[in-house]
């Protein structure tokens, strides 16, 4: 074995060792337990409300009023859960879905300009705009 061949093999062995270290790190990770699959749990909350909504078209959605990352994520999850309905993130049409996963109660919403048609628990509600009719 000549010198050129030896250093070539040394380079290959280095790559293999680094790969083994990375794989070892991944292997160790696989023995850890998962935190709950929060996205899947979030999507499951919409199972009950689907049957009360039209099959196609547009529904309105009232998110948690804090303009946080979570509120944005919850809107997109709601859109995924309710597709093929188009979910408009404004409270200007009926039916209207109230999504307050932090735990708003029906009372806190009904006092405003909306009527609670159905409270599914976990902060998910089917609402109607209170137009006085």
């Amino acid at each position: 074995m000549n010198f050129r061949s030896s250093i070539h093999i040394a380079g290959a062995v280095c790559l293999l060792i680094v790969s083994l270290l990375s794989s070892g790190q991944l292997l160790k990770l696989t023995y850890q337990s998962h935190s709950p699959d929060v996205d899947n749990l979030y999507l499951g909350r919409f199972d009950g409300i689907k049957s009360l909504l039209p099959q196609r078209g547009v529904v309105c959605y009232m998110p948690n009023p804090d303009n946080s990352f979570d509120a944005k994520k919850h809107y997109f999850l709601a859109q995924y859960a309710l597709a093929p309905l188009v979910v408009r993130p404004t409270a200007d049409c009926d039916p209207l879905i109230g999504d307050f996963p932090a735990g708003s109660t029906a009372a806190s919403v009904s006092g405003q300009q909306f009527v609670v048609l159905n409270d599914f628990g976990n902060g998910l509600m089917l609402l109607r705009r209170n137009t006085g009719r």
Binding site: N2, R4, S5, I7, H8, I9, A10, G11, A12, V13, C14, L15, L16, V18, S19, L20, L21, S22, S23, G24, Q25, L26, L27, L29, T30, H34, S35, D37, D39, N40, L43, R56, V58, K73, Y75, F76, L77, Q79, Y80, A83, P84, V86, V87, R88, P89
Partner: protein, 465 residues
């Protein structure tokens, strides 16, 4: 489950028949089997996603009739493939080294093989672990790809609502290979179950590794193939994205497939130009997967034009362009229909004058360059950063000289694509730091398999030094 398996087998069958139909007649199928099967995954999902989209345009909804048509097409295409291969007497594939030597030749090859199988085992275990952590996939999976798939399948005649401006549906300009593949799988299964996109993500991840390994075995040596595939499998972030059902892994597959087929074309050029037809198809499917694929396609066509014209003249260029265009054409027609009739605005492209203004801001260049340098050094979720070790390997192994014309085209295309990505970041009309933080690591995964392919193809083989 049987219905899901059937949907996958029909897609793979169509991809396999299509590849066999175009595989050069003088090459034997058996030694190239892993290569062909790996290509069949991408081509199969590509073809069936195009058919699904065409079906929606023509008939409005997908159902049993689509399944019957696909099975019929599979039978016809298989019959064509078998008959085409019987027409010419098969002779040995002499110009190309194929998987012929079943025995491992040296100690280092043994070590590389053992390490490869260990990383393969860990990667499989890791993939399952990542899937169990979030069966709906990552944000892009439920926020873009699978969401679009729900509209395409469950929307019935209103499937165009997927691109509605009524809600806040994001990235409606993104192409449909993944959404159409998922919707097609759901139409076979009869429900929008998470297993379908998970399996598609798994198949693309596995096919990328299979393609890298088999292509290097055919074009280089088995020890190089083991090394490259081991490095890819040990890149945790590649597995994370595959399990999260992101489109970056399928896009990376099509980049790699295109470069592999171009290199194979060089070896098979005397026999036929069919590899170029396949390369045109995979390049088109890259554009059908993500917008970055269109950039890759443009870079490929530009580099091919300049390199071939300069070295081989206009005749050779046109002779090569025809089969490339033949493979590319049908995909581009569908993509153009989508872009012109359905796609929304591309939120990453600026008007020309705004882009020019942004190009003039040195601070943006500096920010993007710093982020690129940082990602290149800390990329892929490695225990120890891989980049210096790869650079050291190239230095110690030495680069093969001279590089072939096709290898030059591949290398230049990949470099130009990365430069294109860089410029997109500099000119993007969205908050730059946010964009870099949320996408640059994924963008590098797109070019990672192709980078490994070119590194291990263009360096000296272990048994040559």
């Amino acid at each position: 489950m049987i219905k899901i398996v059937m949907s996958i087998l029909v897609a793979l069958g169509l991809g396999f028949s299509f590849t066999c139909l175009l595989w050069p007649k003088r090459r034997r199928l058996l030694p190239d089997l892993l290569l062909i099967i790996s290509l069949s995954v991408g081509l199969g999902f590509g073809i069936t996603s195009l058919l699904f989209f065409l079906w929606l345009i023509v008939f409005g909804t997908a159902g049993v009739a689509l399944i019957s048509s696909e099975v019929g097409l599979l039978l016809v295409l298989s019959a064509f493939a078998v008959s085409a291969r019987r027409q010419e007497k098969q002779v040995d594939s002499l110009p190309v080294k194929t998987i012929r030597a079943p025995r491992l030749k040296s100690k280092i090859e043994w070590i590389a093989a053992i390490t490869f199988f260990f990383t393969l085992f860990v990667a499989g275990k890791g993939f399952l672990w990542f899937v169990r952590g979030g069966i709906q996939g990552g944000w892009d999976a439920w926020g873009i790809w699978n969401l679009r798939a729900k509209f395409l399948l469950l929307g019935g005649l209103d499937w165009r609502d997927a691109f509605s401006a009524e809600g806040a549906i994001s990235h409606t300009d993104y192409p449909l290979l993944i959404p159409a593949s998922v919707a097609r799988g759901w139409s076979y299964a009869g429900a929008d179950i998470p297993m379908v996109p998970i399996l598609i993500g798994f198949l693309f991840t596995a096919a990328t590794v299979g393609l890298l390994f088999s292509a290097l075995t055919v074009l280089g040596s088995r020890s190089q193939a083991f090394l490259a595939a081991t490095v890819l499998l040990a890149s945790s972030f590649f597995l994370v994205l595959g399990a999260a059902q992101y489109a970056d892994v399928p896009l990376g597959f099509f980049f790699l497939a295109t470069l592999v087929l171009l290199c194979l074309h060089e070896r098979a050029a005397a026999q036929s130009n069919n590899m170029l037809v396949l390369a045109g198809t995979t390049a088109g499917l890259a554009a059908w997967t993500k917008n970055e694929g269109s950039l890759f396609l443009a870079c490929l066509l530009l580099v091919h034009l300049i390199t071939t014209l300069r070295k081989q003249g206009i005749r050779t260029y046109l002779r090569q362009l025809m089969p490339l265009a033949a493979g590319l054409g049908p995909v581009l027609v569908m993509l153009a229909y989508f872009k012109l009739n359905l796609a929304g605005h591309n939120d990453l492209s600026s008007p020309f004058l705004t882009a020019l203004k942004m190009l003039g801001r040195i601070s943006r260049w500096r920010t993007v360059a710093k982020a690129f340098a940082d990602q290149v050094l800390h990329f892929g979720g490695w225990a120890l950063t891989i980049t210096p070790f790869l650079a050291l390997y190239v230095l110690l192994a030495g680069v093969k000289n001279p590089a072939s014309s096709e290898e030059k085209i591949c290398l230049r295309t990949l470099c130009l694509t990365v430069i294109g990505y860089f410029l997109v970041y500099v000119t993007a009309p969205v908050p730059l730091n946010w964009l870099l933080e949320t996408s640059l690591n994924r963008v590098l995964v797109q070019v990672w398999p192709s980078t490994l392919f070119l590194i291990f193809l263009m360096t000296n083989r272990l048994d040559e030094t």
